[in-house]
């Protein structure tokens, strides 16, 4: 169990968070609440996501809001009554791959994108059992499954101006009319023959849809692309490697640290032409600060994993960019893992908040990184304010706050052809894409994460377009303590956990804070509600399959609060089950086989959407 700090009142001096921006304004949610269902839908269809994100009754983007807090202030479900929560309705997706990402609720309709074949369902929430309103099948190529590194997942859709935006695995972004399910536009962005896929959830800001590619394990050159939300035409594209003009680095680029300054670092920090196949894909989460008008996103690992094939810092991979959403110009960059040694992608979500630090209010972003450090970074300048390990870490010695650089540990560095043992955290990191939540009420981050170490052997690998470009043999094992996962309530100011729940398996579901109750799921299939303040388990429900989905909260047309989550084991670790891998090979599933052999005996595959409410039923 986690540490329970006594000084709760002291550190609840959270001055403001992105969420509060919305709270200060006249809440539209009141009107929405009172309006009839059709009116809600109408208002939803007209509204800009910038406004809709503030409405706790709806959930219009996968991270709930631009600040990526996954916090809902809906208070109907309380620690007291959560025990009476029951299933309202369910829906089987018929897909047996891993179900990541949350459903959306816009007005009276719920939208759900399944993993490949990426069918978009719309459910009519006004009717009992929420029947399917329409469904849209993009018919993505089956071959795309062969170049999706970590199960054929989809991390959700985004809503804006009457359209649902989402990506199909074979590299298409599409805009679907939210009301009718009719296709507005489809843009093909990637080439699966080069190993490029798309799995991330788009973000819509100011009439632009931001999407990034996946395929860091295939020698893909990563990018973030802004598409015009109305036409699907590319507005700009920022690569994560290569010359400054490709990375959209210009005069406005003012990184905080020296090592990020210089001409064409995206070339000179790579050997030869390795930057062309250097990874740095953008498959994770995006945040946006409307006030500073800055878009934040992370770049994934450099490829291949074997670091000896790419000496140098490998800019601009494994770091985070702040860009102008309009032009794409980079404002600052910070590299969490220069010359990444362990596949420590920098794509984890960045939660934006204003924290009271050192006597002042700092506009920060918080990121629980794969490398085991929880970063608090000034989101205007890119300065690292603190970087604290939130799991046992032996592969780095933290961050030198002066130079901003991660301090590597020599003996844990890869030596091609040799097994380097017990690297903590492992390649999936202390925390992978599974998003955390932040409660402005408690000031705590709720982090679903892993406790995984690994043995790593770098091997020479050929770049063969469309085949994996990894160059490592990895075997994961449970970290210190023997439990493979944690659910941690983290106090970013004190830099330590408030409380912590040990889980047998990595906690690969997202977190949700619904007022005072925190929700998350486990890979065994338990959907759990815990007290936001104490971490006490309040309620749990055993779903049909392991949960790696992201829970969300919404207010139904009936005015009641609902919690929805998808069960369906899969994803990188869950592929052991969903892809029926053989754990006798310890590297099965890129390293999970050795550690998750028991998962096959614990749960089975099968995607199902669960919607809960107090009392259950409709």
């Amino acid at each position: 169990m986690g540490i329970r700090a006594q000084r709760r009142g002291l550190f609840l001096t959270v001055a403001g968070i992105a969420f509060m921006i919305s709270a200060c304004q006249k809440p539209t949610s009141d009107t929405v609440q009172q309006s009839p269902a059709s009116a809600r839908a109408l208002s939803g269809s007209l509204a800009d996501p910038a406004r809709l994100q503030q409405d706790d009754g709806q959930w219009v983007m996968s991270a709930k809001n631009y600040a990526a807090t996954r916090f809902s202030s809906l208070g109907e479900i309380t620690p007291a009554n959560v025990k009476q929560m029951g299933v309202a309705w369910t829906f089987s997706t018929g897909v047996t791959a891993g179900h990541e990402g949350p459903p959306l609720v816009v007005g009276d309709t719920m939208y759900l994108v399944t993993p490949w074949p990426n069918i978009l369902y719309a459910f009519d929430l006004t009717k009992p059992g929420a029947p399917i309103k329409w469904q849209y099948d993009p018919k993505p190529l089956g071959a795309a499954k062969g170049v999706a590194c970590c199960d054929i997942v989809n991390r959700g859709a985004a809503y804006a101006n009457g359209a649902i935006f989402f990506n199909a695995l074979d590299g298409r972004t599409m805009s679907i009319d939210a009301a009718t399910g009719k296709e507005r536009w489809v843009t093909q962005l990637t080439d699966i023959n080069r190993g490029e896929t798309m799995t991330m959830a788009p973000l819509v800001v100011k009439g632009k849809v931001f999407v990034g590619n996946s395929g860091g394990e295939f020698g893909v050159r990563g990018w973030l692309t802004a598409l015009d939300a109305d036409s699907g035409k590319t507005a700009w594209r920022a690569y994560s490697t290569g010359p400054d003009k490709d990375v959209l680095i210009g005069p406005t680029f003012k990184p905080h640290y020296d090592s990020d300054r210089g001409k064409d670092l995206g070339i000179t920090t790579w050997p030869g032409e390795a930057w062309r196949i250097g990874g740095g894909t953008v498959w994770g989460w995006l945040s946006y600060d409307p006030e500073a008008d800055l878009l934040y996103y992370g770049t994934a690992n450099p490829g291949p994993w074997n670091p000896e094939q790419r000496p140098g810092d490998n800019k601009w991979t494994a770091g985070m960019f702040a860009r102008s959403p309009d032009t794409g110009e980079a404002r600052w960059f910070y590299q969490t893992s220069p010359h990444d040694l362990y596949d420590h992608d920098g794509v984890n979500e960045m939660v934006l908040a204003d924290l009271q630090m050192n006597g002042g209010t700092r506009k920060v972003l918080m990121r629980a990184d794969r490398n085991g450090l929880l970063y608090v970074i000034d989101r205007l300048t890119g300065e690292v304010l603190s970087a604290t390990p939130f799991v046992p870490v032996n592969s780095n010695k933290g961050v030198d706050l002066k130079s901003g650089r991660l301090i590597p540990v020599k003996e844990k560095e890869s030596k091609q052809g040799m097994v380097v043992r017990d690297i903590c955290p492992a390649a999936p990191g202390a925390k992978d894409e599974q998003p955390m939540a932040f409660s402005p009420k408690t000031g705590l981050l709720y982090i679903p994460h892993n406790n995984v170490c690994m043995d790593f052997e770098g091997t020479a690998v050929s770049y063969i377009a469309g085949t994996p470009y990894v160059g490592a043999s990895v075997v994961y094992k449970a970290g210190p303590g023997g439990n493979r996962g944690f659910f941690t309530a983290w106090d970013p100011l004190a830099g330590k956990p408030k409380w912590q729940i040990k889980e047998s398996f990595p906690v690969w579901s997202g977190a949700l804070v619904a007022n005072d109750v925190v929700f998350y799921g486990t890979m065994e299939g338990w959907f759990k509600a815990v007290d936001a303040n104490t971490g006490q388990l309040l309620w749990q429900f055993k779903c049909g399959s392991g949960i790696i989905g992201h829970p969300m909260a919404f207010k139904g047309p009936d005015g009641h609060e609902y919690i929805a989550v998808t069960a369906g084991i899969g994803g990188w670790p869950g592929a052991i089950v969903s892809a029926d891998l053989d754990p006798r090979d310890a590297t099965a599933g890129n390293g999970w086989g050795g550690m998750l052999a028991d998962l096959k005996k614990t749960t089975t595959k099968g995607g199902m959407l669960y919607v809960f409410t107090v009392g259950g039923g409709t």
Binding site: I464, G466, S473, A588, G589
Partner: protein
């Protein structure tokens, strides 16, 4: 000139004649036309023909299997199917489930032609000879080749049993999952 032409014509006639008069009752050696009789199912109309039991020319050949193992790594097969065949992006190769069949010619076709759910088609990108070597090695992952000829462990991280210690799988299931 005329004499030369005459000689040329005679020579050509002779060569053609030899070729023409050759009565090849046995067509090419089995290895050459293996891929034609590939079946992915046992279900056939009428009385079923036996499933072809064409074997990889390297089934009992240690060198061919070792080459297969080298190529399995060199062509990034390991990236999808696991270092020891446990699977990752692609299905496991060490178990008893073979979506497109475990017979040598079926595996050959899978590698050469590719398969719709993500298996790239390697035909034309690597010589057939190497595909056969890969076939032999892939079979060894499930214990389908002679243990005497199968490869042993690599000088690398050990993530599963070496192929020469894998007991043959008894029941091979074939079919879509």
């Amino acid at each position: 000139m005329g004499r030369f032409t005459f000689a040329l014509v005679c020579t050509m006639a002779a060569t053609l004649g030899c070729e023409r008069e050759t009565r090849r009752y046995t067509e090419l050696p089995a290895a050459a036309n293996r891929s034609t009789a590939v079946r992915l199912t046992t279900l056939q109309p009428g009385s079923p023909q036996p499933i072809s039991n064409v074997q990889s020319p390297y089934q009992y050949n240690a060198y061919g299997l070792a080459e297969g193992k080298r190529l399995y790594a060199a062509y990034n097969c390991a990236g999808c199917h696991g270092v020891a065949g446990g699977g990752a992006i692609g299905p496991a190769l060490m178990d008893d489930k073979w979506i497109y069949g475990s017979h040598a010619d079926q595996i050959f076709s899978s590698i050469s032609q590719g398969r719709p759910d993500g298996m790239p088609s390697f035909g034309g990108h690597i010589p057939d000879q190497q595909i056969w070597q890969l076939v032999g090695y892939v079979q060894s992952l499930a214990g389908l080749v002679s243990q005497d000829a199968a490869t042993s462990r690599n000088d690398d991280q050990i993530v599963g049993k070496p192929e020469n210690r894998i007991e043959g799988t008894k029941q091979i299931q074939t079919g879509h999952r």
